[in-house]
């Protein structure tokens, strides 16, 4: 026996449209469906009825590409901890539930259509300095610089960020600090990241501000919704690097 659900979905034709919530009934939903598969079923029906399907971003559907993301019942990626929307399954919802679905809401993430938002600000933050400058073919032997295992592991933990933007959507200030700090921390912990460490921190933080993201007030909502559990103390690392670079 499937579940019957009421969805209240944000519909917005384009960036200029004001947008509104629209209610849909979805019946006979299998508890084994993923949240996105449930929306697929709704969309198949809408297409056959000649309506516009609900636009949403998604790709790998295995929790790693970072493309999907919606605010479900007020929580970025829904209430399951450490889960992307594509990995959220319907068994976590009650039969006859009413589910609200909205896009990420933050000024630097303008809505493109329905649940699709423009996250290119994240790419521009990386462009500002989220890299090590190393032309192909110029690298020394991989074993020429040993790296402490604890540092490599901590760098990895920060590097697992998938760039989905849930941190921004959850933050009351619309801050991109967790995203930016994850990259700064990843590269600051490794010897390869040292030569550009100061300029990187400064440029990335300034770009983050220029994009219109808010400041961090240590609310911690970002790390609570982060599908990869990027720790809050990466932001402390970012602030230290930024202060040092600004001296």
């Amino acid at each position: 026996m499937g579940m019957n659900l009421t969805l209240k979905v944000w519909r917005q034709k384009g960036p200029e449209d004001t947008g509104r919530m629209v209610t849909y009934r979805v019946e006979d939903v299998s508890p084994d469906m993923s949240f996105l598969e449930m929306l697929d079923v709704l969309n198949e029906r809408l297409i056959l009825e000649g309506d516009d399907p609900v636009a949403f971003d998604h790709d790998c559907r295995e929790g790693i590409c970072g493309m999907c993301g919606m605010v479900i019942n007020g929580v970025a990626h829904g209430e399951q901890v450490a889960t992307t929307t594509c990995q959220l399954h319907m068994r976590h919802f009650e039969d006859n539930a009413v589910i609200t679905i909205e896009p990420w809401r933050a000024a630097p993430f303008p809505v493109v259509k329905d649940l699709v938002v423009d996250r290119s600000a994240f790419d521009r933050i990386i462009q500002a300095g989220g890299f090590v400058s190393v032309p192909a073919g110029s690298a020394p032997d991989a074993h020429s610089v040993p790296v402490k295992k604890v540092d490599a592991d901590a760098a990895f933990d920060a590097a697992t960020c998938i760039g989905c933007g849930a941190c921004v959507a959850a933050c009351p200030n619309g801050s991109a600090s967790l995203f930016t700090a994850a990259k700064i921390t990843h590269l600051s912990l490794l010897p390869q990241g040292q030569p550009e460490r100061d300029s990187r921190a400064k440029a990335m933080v300034e770009q983050m501000d220029a994009e219109g993201f808010g400041g961090c007030t240590n609310t911690g909502e970002c790390t609570a919704v982060c599908p990869k559990g990027i720790p809050l103390d990466t932001i402390a690392q970012m602030n230290r690097d930024y202060l040092k670079a600004s001296k």
Partner: protein
């Protein structure tokens, strides 16, 4: 129905230099013409796709000073599906001193490919593999390390040495982010112009050369033309022809298929790889399949009930009514037989009606013995993250009940034919990564996809494309050729939107995928392939008449995007079946039931099929061009795992 094809001229020149295999790449590099740095700015290159191959190529070409335009269909180049690769990346570093070498990696790859890959290309891949690790480490890719601070490695299927570098279960993610960051650096520097949310819909060929692409801006719907001196396709594989696969939802064949229609030959389309340990389908709504690391087979035992149709819960099936079929059939290798063998065996027991779970399409992978033997903690340490992923998707606890697994499509070895320079049969069109056919033969070894994508993008293509560009810039393009391509794209979009049918593109795609899985999947027969070749054109005709696409052309329209891709999958599916039907031998991922030995293993026919099948598009059916494979270094032999 086209089961017919004609045979054209064989391909004799692959552009590989002569001489000892270890000197060929050096020779090619020295022979390649150079471009004066001041002239590089005047040369334009288009790169389609931003995965490991496309991302690293665009970044490297930008760095060299070319004018690059990069395109991806996702909202950011960081999303490309290379990101999902779990296991690791091979490289012949021999950091373990365990007898590895360039030659051994070359040998293992040719053998793993069941002797259907080109020796000179594979040798070069093994040679540059070591540079990839250096490059990635210098970029800050956080590979796993040991307490001494040096890189950790592990061994992987098909190899007896420990040459796989990894970053926990997220190696693809970390390598892709390295390439993405290099790409973003070039975008900031102004050498690469990035076009996200753009999909390539046709190739522009002018005076016999690839000179640009027609793309659709997926936000505004605008059809754009982009002209260049060379085009690089790095658009990935075509596993989604099966609808269900481990590929991302957006992965599609349109870029390479359109190039094929414009004259690029398609090589070995029937070579597909099926991975044995995926989470089974749970219902008709299923949109994709998720792979779980093969390492699970190190401790899990695979079984099904002895009796067909036995739907008792696991706890009520006594030990003597369980069939540990891999251990029974392959006593020497047991649960650790290679991917293709494990996959086929699972299919066979399910065909006998002994499969478990929804639809009877699954087999148990049981850890009860391992937990008894090693303790729950030890099992959790080793496989905790995989068990968690399984639980998340299925809602079942693999510590207290066996996992259910089933094979799924996850990689395609076939792709556009390229020569030693990675150039297709259209001058100026280069193809890299999974989109080309080279290097893996009929079967890819684990941890070799990442290696090939990055080898092509960072090291091989930037040298070989220079040789082509040195004769450029190639001047004005033929306006008629551009207009013709653009009109064809618009007409197709209008056709899809004006249909007032009653089935969605997804529903046709699902039907096509099931048909391909049943008739051109793990096991192929003449009968099944003929059936597929009868049914595909009928279904395709119905699709074009009856598919329903809502919305408009000039807006973000995901229904339209999908419908266009499904249209191309139909054509590709047909070519795959023709290729599979013509290759009456079994090899690697291509198993023809008629060609097996007494033990049921794949039986190659080297006498008649030691060639690459390169298909040219023809209005009257495809034309086969054979590239003979000569093995000067590796001795051909038959695999056995009993």
């Amino acid at each position: 129905m086209t089961t017919k094809y004609t045979e054209g001229e064989p391909i004799r020149d692959t552009k590989a230099p002569e001489g000892p295999i270890e000197d060929r790449w050096e020779k090619r590099k020295f022979g390649a013409k150079l471009v004066n740095p001041a002239n590089k700015r005047k040369l334009n290159v288009i790169v389609i796709g931003t995965g490991l191959a496309g991302g690293s190529a665009a970044a490297t070409l930008g760095e060299l000073g070319y004018n690059v335009k990069s395109f991806c269909y996702q909202d950011s180049p960081r999303r490309a599906h290379s990101i999902a690769a779990q296991g690791g990346i091979n490289a012949a570093k021999n950091y373990r001193g365990d007898g590895d070498s360039t030659y051994r990696l070359f040998y293992d790859t040719v053998k793993g490919g069941d002797f259907r890959a080109r020796e000179s290309n594979v040798y070069r891949l093994a040679q540059v593999s070591v540079n990839i690790i250096d490059q990635a480490v210098a970029q800050g890719v956080p590979f796993a390390r040991e307490y001494g601070g040096l890189l950790d490695t592990r061994s992987f299927g098909g190899a007896q040495v420990s040459r796989t570098f990894y970053a926990r279960g997220q190696t693809g993610q970390q390598l892709l982010l390295g390439a993405y960051q290099a790409l973003e650096r070039q975008i900031a520097a102004g050498t690469v112009e990035m076009h996200t949310r753009h999909e390539m819909l046709d190739l522009i060929v002018s005076d016999g050369r690839a000179r640009g692409v027609i793309v659709r801006d997926m936000v505004t719907g605008e059809i754009e033309r982009h002209i260049a001196d060379a085009v690089v396709l790095a658009s990935g594989g075509y596993g989604n022809v099966f609808f269900l696969s481990t590929n991302a939802k957006g992965c599609n064949t349109t870029a390479i298929w359109r190039a094929h229609r414009r004259g690029a030959m398609f090589a070995n389309p029937c070579y597909t790889q099926i991975h044995p340990t995926c989470i089974p389908v749970s219902g008709d709504y299923q949109s994709k399949l998720t792979l779980m690391s093969e390492s699970l087979r190190n401790d899990g035992r695979v079984w099904v009930p002895v009796k067909a149709g036995d739907d008792r819960p696991v706890s009520q099936i006594p030990e003597d009514e369980r069939d540990y079929y891999l251990e029974r059939i392959y006593p020497a290798f047991g649960n650790l037989v290679p991917r293709d063998i494990a996959s086929r065996a699972a299919k066979n027991v399910c065909d006998e009606g002994r499969g478990v779970g929804p639809g009877g399409l699954g087999v148990y992978l049981d850890f009860a013995d391992a937990i008894r033997r090693l303790g729950r903690d030890a099992v959790e340490k080793k496989y905790g993250n995989l068990f968690e992923m399984y639980e998340r998707i299925t809602g079942e606890d693999p510590y207290t009940q066996p996992m259910r697994i089933y094979p799924a499509v996850h990689y395609t070895m076939g792709g556009l034919w390229v020569d030693y320079d990675l150039q297709s049969t259209i001058p100026g069109l280069f193809v890299i990564g999974e989109a080309n056919f080279s290097d893996h033969g009929a079967n890819r070894l684990g941890a070799s996809a990442l290696m090939q994508g990055l080898a092509d993008g960072y090291f091989v293509l930037p040298t070989t494309i220079g040789d082509y560009l040195a004769d450029g810039p190639y001047g004005e393009v033929d306006e008629e050729a551009v207009a013709e391509a653009e009109i064809a794209v618009r007409e197709k979009i209008n056709k899809l939107l004006s249909n007032n049918g009653d089935r969605t593109a997804d529903s046709y795609h699902r039907e096509l995928g099931k048909l391909m899985w049943d008739y051109c999947g793990m096991e192929r027969t003449e009968e099944s392939l003929r059936k597929a070749l009868e049914r595909i054109p009928e279904l395709r005709e119905e699709f074009w008449k009856n598919v329903k696409v809502s919305g408009e052309a000039d807006e973000l329209n995901q229904a339209l995007e999908r419908a266009g891709r499904v249209g191309d999958f139909f054509d590709l599916a047909e070519l795959m079946c023709i290729d599979a039907l013509h290759r009456t031998e079994s090899c690697g991922g291509h198993f023809r039931a008629e060609s097996q030995d007494a033990d049921g293993e794949a039986l190659r026919d080297d006498e008649n099929f030691a060639y690459v099948a390169a298909w040219e598009y023809g209005e009257q059916g495809p034309v086969l061009h054979k590239e003979d494979l000569d093995y000067e270094y590796v001795k051909m032999s038959q695999r056995s795992y009993k």
